[in-house]
């Protein structure tokens, strides 16, 4: 099944690594937003199957972006997975309590990223 993932991350390198990782490994489509506000707009218009959201971004950070997504009826039900470099358990727990499905820590293995997402979201590969 051709899934559509929206990645919201300001880092160009991460954007490209996620894109090639997912497209080569499983062939899902990856939409890119470089900021929280761009991500919110794209989420509304594109209705992706899932959103990968970076926590640390300039201007609007991941947590504000998430609350915007959750406050909007059009985007409320899209599953969101946080991408974060913070690896401490307490930080992961805190992020998870904000209403995201799960947290993937950076650096991630781009070869298994799609499988990881599929597992989190109970998607069949």
């Amino acid at each position: 099944m051709n899934r559509r993932i929206l990645l919201i991350d300001d880092e160009e390198t991460i954007q490209e690594v996620v894109q090639v990782g997912i497209e080569i490994e499983v062939g899902w489509q990856v939409e890119i937003a470089s900021s929280g506000s761009e991500g919110i707009n794209l989420a509304q218009t594109q209705q992706p199957d899932a959103i990968l959201l970076d926590v640390m971004m300039p201007d609007m950070d991941g947590i504000s972006t998430l609350s915007n997504l959750k406050a909007n009826a059009k985007t409320r039900s899209i599953p969101v997975i946080f991408l974060t470099a913070k690896t401490q358990v307490a930080e992961k727990d805190r992020l998870q309590s904000l209403g995201v499905i799960d947290v993937i820590t950076k650096p991630f293995n781009s070869m298994t990223l799609a499988s990881q997402i599929a597992r989190i979201l109970h998607w069949e590969l």
């Binding site: 099944m1 880092e11 160009e12 390198t13 991460i14 490209e16 690594v17 894109q19 090639v20 990782g21 497209e23 080569i24 490994e25 499983v26 062939g27 640390m56 300039p58 470099a85 401490q88 950076k106 650096p107 991630f108 293995n109 781009s110 070869m111 298994t112 499988s115 990881q116 599929a118 597992r119 069949e124 590969l125």
Partner: protein, 613 residues
Amino acid sequence: MKILLIEDDKTLIDLLTRTLAERSYAVDVVTDGEQGWIYGSTYTYDLILLDWSLPKLDGISLCQRFRARGYNTPIILLTSRHGSQNKIRGLDAGADDYICKPFDVEELAARIRALLRRLNCNFLPVLSWGDLQLDPCSCQVTYQGNILSLATKEYMLLELFLRHRQEVLSIEDIIESLWTSMEYPAEATVRSHIRHLREKLKSAGLPEDIITTMRGQGYCLKPLPQAETSESILASEPADKHSKHLAALTLIWNKHRPKRQQQLTTIEQAIAALQRGTLELSDRLSAIVAAHSLAGNLGQFGLYRGSELARELEELLQNNPNREQWQKLSLKLTALNEEIANERNISPQLDQKLAADSPLLLIVGDVNSSSQITQEAKIQGIRTKTLPTSETVKIWLEQQQDRYENLPQAVLLTISFTNLESDLRQEYLALIAEFKLLEPSIPVIVIADRDRFGDRLQVARHGGSFYLTQPLTPSQIIAVCQQAIQRSSRCKKIMIVDDDTELLQVLPSLLQPWGFQLTTLQDPRQFWEVLQAVNPDLILLDIEMPHLSGIELCKVLRTHPYWCKLPVLFLSIHNDRHISSDAFASGASDFICKPATARQLAHRIINHLARST
């Protein structure tokens, strides 16, 4: 696609050969188990349909024979035996799927498609090349929505190319895949089918010939032209998905070299300004952003040391460093520069680094369900290697020449206590002991087909780590494997604080076989700084040291919310009850008297690591 049907019921043979031929499969039929073995071990098939009850050699025994000899062709077992016990027996014997008679041929066809999809790692139900689509379910080929009328062999050829993209298929490969073993088509016949297929694709409107002729080698499917954006990343078309992925990452790495250089310069300028005492807030913030970006990106390419250094720089800069700290920052930046400069040619290392990232699970014995387990392991970021017999394991182990970095972190061993001859069973049990005796020992997870105390005892006696009984789902199995892997000592960071120079020099080589990452520290005054830089999984502390005692250091650790649960093992030359009780009162996890053998020490470390994970 070529299927071997091993079945003695004439009516069923007629029905299945007709049904499968309609779906463009080439089918060889044999009517007894021995013939099945001869055909199955002589020719290459994409799949075997195997009846349970057969003359000469029954389906279960044949299945076991295929698996025991290392044949991993997918097998679907056909049988009139219902009930989960029979299904379990069939699957345990090495079958990949099981279907009860009477069955719906459509269901069987769907199971064949699903199995072939899974084994080809091509999870999409429809095969495609751009707008050209082949649906194995309806056997229909369309281009931009219009149906193409292909003859059976043309359809089979197209399916073969689509399933084996990026492989060069010789005429012999094609004959072997598309014709039954009783047919001997001339090479010219194959070429003529390919020519017809090309003509039909052309007249359907495909802009280019999708099949490339490789002179003297055969034919292959052309790579699909990429969309403009991804073309820059996927400029070259390497042989498989894995190398394609690596090539793409290498291109990204190279593409962003100027940006990394710019980020390093930003940090360098901030440090120079700090040294002069003129560091402005805006410059410090730019340097923080640059260090943060480097920390995130370098790890993505396997440069973990570089990532760590960048993160340390980020933290130092965030804490508004004073002028005296410029040298410390400068040293870290130099180290970071070196790490990055060492990786100018990243592609050879990247593969190794990404692979080294994930632990290796060795699957022994049950090749039948290994594809599902492998898939589940992959999801969990575990690499797998499958070896069919204890003999092949021994050969493989010898080939590794005790290089522990090549050895697995855990072994999954399937033992059929019901079916195995006692000497084979002994061989498997001996294998458990062999892994146990390795240094460091490798945990063996045994999957058994029955739950008897005697069997458990045998496995435990030989050093098995887990004894699980069927039925189990792949995810249950992998969860236990993960547990075993986490218990393993490999790459666990151990920090040793001791003022005994000699001990610090000798311990790393003594503990080397266990694969720990050791950091030694002689001066306890640097303890806190080194601790934070290393972030160890366990600490070994000497009791008596100049300036600060181990007990004091342990007390400090226990006051910190992050470090309060870190395992701390004391090493002391004093076998004194008062000293040990002081150590435990300060929060020690264990107390070991010097001299201790490396083995004793390693086992204590491993035990504490296991409890803390």
